[in-house]
Amino acid sequence: MKIYRIHALICAGAQCIAAGGNGFEEALKNELKKHNIEEEVSVVETGCMGACQLGPLLVVYPEGIMYTNVEAKDAKEIVEEHFLKGRPVKRLMWKKEGEEEFPELKDIPFFAKQTKIVLRNCGLINPEDINEYIARDGYKALAKAVAEMEPKDVIDVVKESGLRGRGGAGFPTGLKWSFAANQDSEEKYIICNADEGDPGAYMDRSILEGDPHSVIEGMMITGYAIGSSVGYIYVRAEYPLAVRRLKMAIKQAKQAGLLGKNIFGTNFSFDMVLMMGAGAFVCGEETALINSIEGKRGEPRKKPPFPAISGLFGKPTIINNVETLANLPVIVDKGAKFFKQFGTEKSPGTKVFALAGNVNISGLVEVPMGTSLRKIVFDIGGGIPEGHTFKGALTGGPSGGVIPMEFIDTPVDYESLPDLGTIMGSGGLIIMDERSCMVDVAKFFLKFTVDESCGKCVPCREGTRQMLKILERITLGRGREEDIDRLEKMGELIKLTALCGLGQTAPNPVLSTLKYFKEEYLAHIIDKKCPAGVCQFSALKEGRKKHEAKIAH
């Protein structure tokens, strides 16, 4: 085995590649060649390290020094100074403004205050090399499950761990499995839901890009537990890098005999199919997703029957989210007790959030369930940009709602968020300061769901559209006083009557902003003013002119 003096890990998540990571890697390799030290330095492309705003990132081991915002022109200095002379390039190192000392990787608050279970390998291993996954206890849990445990034991461990679905609804995973396990059917299916569609959310993509084998292993454990031998990964076609890495991981697992027939010499066999998403948000809804795999139009089905009883091709089917699956190897390997020491009693474990919006360090963070929003935004995210104040945080994307400043100390878990009128969701966390208009934010997300509504049921197809019209009217300064009451009534009605999760949660952004920022709505309607200065009422006249011209035409 080859020994390298230095391991240079380059973040190769989609963000960092977009930020120019590719050019840097080439330049670095050229410099290594020029100085003839290719044999001493191992350059590894790794998954997302989380601090996306500062990307592309480079971490150099054994020192664990992190360089931020590296560019092709920096390669020469890094190689000549650091790799050759052992003098880290200070100007590129992670440093807060005004700070003199350079912290070690583990001491940087953004990393130090996180707890990594799901992202345990992201940014540390080469996702395109199965050996590096195996070195980090990869496939150990699968081996333990198939060789030492009965399927029922596996379900019991997951039940005991209290793991809940990370896709957003938070349904207990072990309980869901037991429904499918109890079905007497020759064929059963596992589906990995990787159709991540919330605006601003990219937790699942980062897991697939940074540690695809953990998801594959999680699916196989699920398969063993419920008695299924086929798994489908339904992944967004808009995630080309994740698709490429998944394909590569499946191929490597097959070559290693970890995927296929008679795994570890037992009777357990498992095969995997990679499906590209159909490009619609609603296909992330489990029954619409099933329709899409079957080749039908991506529209949700009525529940019950639930997929665990009758799902894909009418057979019992378990659909788990990427993050849920990535938790499983850890739970099976280390036990329920280990998992439960993180998080809260009813929401054990951790949650990955995509921190975005008006916050100093945006990126991917993993924290124990029940961590307060304040800690996530101010301790990990470095707070709000200088001179601005926190106004609210939106969780759950277009299905969620806003948490205002007064509730910033609320623990983020499956119990507390619904009390505030929002949901955990899949992990999108958008931070807003006083420059954001809440009516405009609600309009933005409602516009998204109107566009993405499949049109199958009336409340979602027509109801959300009418709500959007009212919001548009308000942001143009033509709101009426009764609009607020109307929005509330319609919102509540749509929540009760829509067919699937998309429609049932679509009014949430409107209802929650109405709950906490009613005076802002009133300012728009009565004073014809947008306190945040976002809505342009001058557009009113032009809009009317356009409208009249359209009618005349």
């Binding site: 390298y4 002379k85 590096e132 070195a135 010499g265």
Partner: protein, 122 residues
């Protein structure tokens, strides 16, 4: 890659693969520091460094961290190699590639200080 047919084979592969990731843990039993200032490089520190890496590789010893650092000021003794093992640091002077291999074999791996080449204790 060969198929993994049993849990035992997976375990063996894991042990093997783990070694290649050792560097990223930031911890190691032995730390080898090579002075790579201008003088050190001119005196042949690069050849010494390469010899150390190749000897570690030959003997498949992964529990060592190789650190390059600046000159200690002992220009007269360059290339200088320091080995930190069992909480003790020892400096070797005027190290050649052959000496470096010997130091790896005796001191780094087996803990036997090669006293005739030692110039100082840390």
């Amino acid at each position: 890659m060969e198929k993994i047919k049993s849990i035992e084979e997976l375990r063996k592969l894991r042990e093997h693969a783990r070694k290649s990731l050792q560097v990223r843990s930031g911890e190691a039993k032995v730390k080898i520091m090579v002075s790579m200032g201008t003088v050190g490089i001119a005196a042949g520190a690069r050849d010494v460094l390469m010899a150390i890496i190749s000897e570690l590789e030959k003997r498949q010893f992964h529990d060592a961290q190789i650190v390059e650092r600046g000159s200690l000021g002992l220009d007269n003794e360059e290339p200088v190699v320091a080995v930190e093992r069992d909480n003790k640091t020892v400096f070797y002077g005027k190290v050649t590639a052959e000496m470096a291999r010997e130091i790896v074999a005796q001191h780094v791996i087996n803990g036997q200080i090669v006293s005739e080449w030692v110039i100082a204790k840390g």
